[in-house]
């Protein structure tokens, strides 16, 4: 059976679900950030797969994937900076203990 668009979409969905579970269920803030990176990668796979199979000569999905990578890099830098700043002031990065703004 040859590989088609649906294989890539289902692979992307599986990776996204794993990332979703990790982002919702983990207490360590760095692991949550890592799960978010997995989700962004899954979205990129779907983008590139659509670009490859629907409009193979226009590359629009690949351009979108590049912009997603830029935003992911910025998000990782700022997110890790926030985590380190929180660790400095509170000595923990356990998200269940960082609840100052929780209602």
């Amino acid at each position: 059976m040859s590989i088609g668009l649906e294989h890539y979409l289902i692979l992307s969905a599986i990776l996204f679900s794993i990332g979703l579970y990790g982002a919702l269920a983990k207490r360590n803030a760095i692991v949550i950030l890592m799960s978010i990176e997995i989700m962004l990668n899954a979205v990129n796979i779907a983008m590139v797969a659509f670009s490859r199979y629907i409009v193979p000569l226009m590359l629009t999905g690949q351009v979108f994937a590049i912009f997603i990578m830029v935003v992911a890099a910025a998000e990782a830098a700022v997110g890790l900076a926030i985590i380190i700043a929180i660790y400095r002031s509170r000595e923990t990065i356990d998200t269940t203990k960082i609840d100052l703004m929780k209602w």
Partner: protein
């Protein structure tokens, strides 16, 4: 034939590595598995004949973001405490399964009804000149490129300001 074998190997390793990221209790090992997952995603891009994106994936994710994450793990000393799950573990599992079921059902439905307007054209190779034309050429994405530059500058400045010693 080689493409199919490569896809299945990369998909299995990638999903296994992603599962290891969320299931391993040692945060440092989880980060190493995340690097493996990024590498397999780069391989998936190669099977999609997106050569430029594969190289960029290795440079940005495996090179830069992985180093950032491992550095943050070293700086926060949470490795001993591990990465325990919070009390939302069971609902989160069901939300993830629900999402997966929805997407797989939709994709299966579209596949049965043959709703994709697939173009039977061979993909463009190599993609780098075409991508450069898209990003910087006439009627392309030059304004988003400029905005992305401003976003990266703002993110770097923000990160420096956040972690600066008072």
């Amino acid at each position: 034939m080689g493409l199919e074998i490569a896809f299945w190997i990369l998909a299995v390793i990638g999903i296994g590595a992603a599962l290891a990221v969320v299931l391993l209790s040692n945060v440092f090992r989880a980060a190493l598995c995340l690097v493996l997952c990024f590498l397999t995603v780069a391989g998936i891009y190669v099977t999609l004949s997106a050569d430029f994106l594969a190289v960029v994936q290795i440079l940005i994710y495996v090179g830069a973001i992985a180093v950032l994450i491992i550095l943050a793990i070293m700086l926060t000393r949470e490795v001993q405490r591990g990465s325990p799950a919070n009390k939302l573990r069971i609902p989160a599992f069901f939300v993830a399964i629900l999402f997966l079921g929805t997407v797989v059902g939709t994709v299966g439905f579209a596949m049965v009804k043959d709703q994709w307007r697939l173009a039977g054209v061979a993909p463009l190779e190599p993609t780098t000149p075409a991508l450069a034309g898209k990003l910087f050429g006439e009627g392309g994405f030059i304004l988003p490129v400029e905005i992305a530059a401003i976003l990266l500058l703002a993110a770097i400045l923000g990160a420096i300001v956040l972690v600066r010693e008072k």
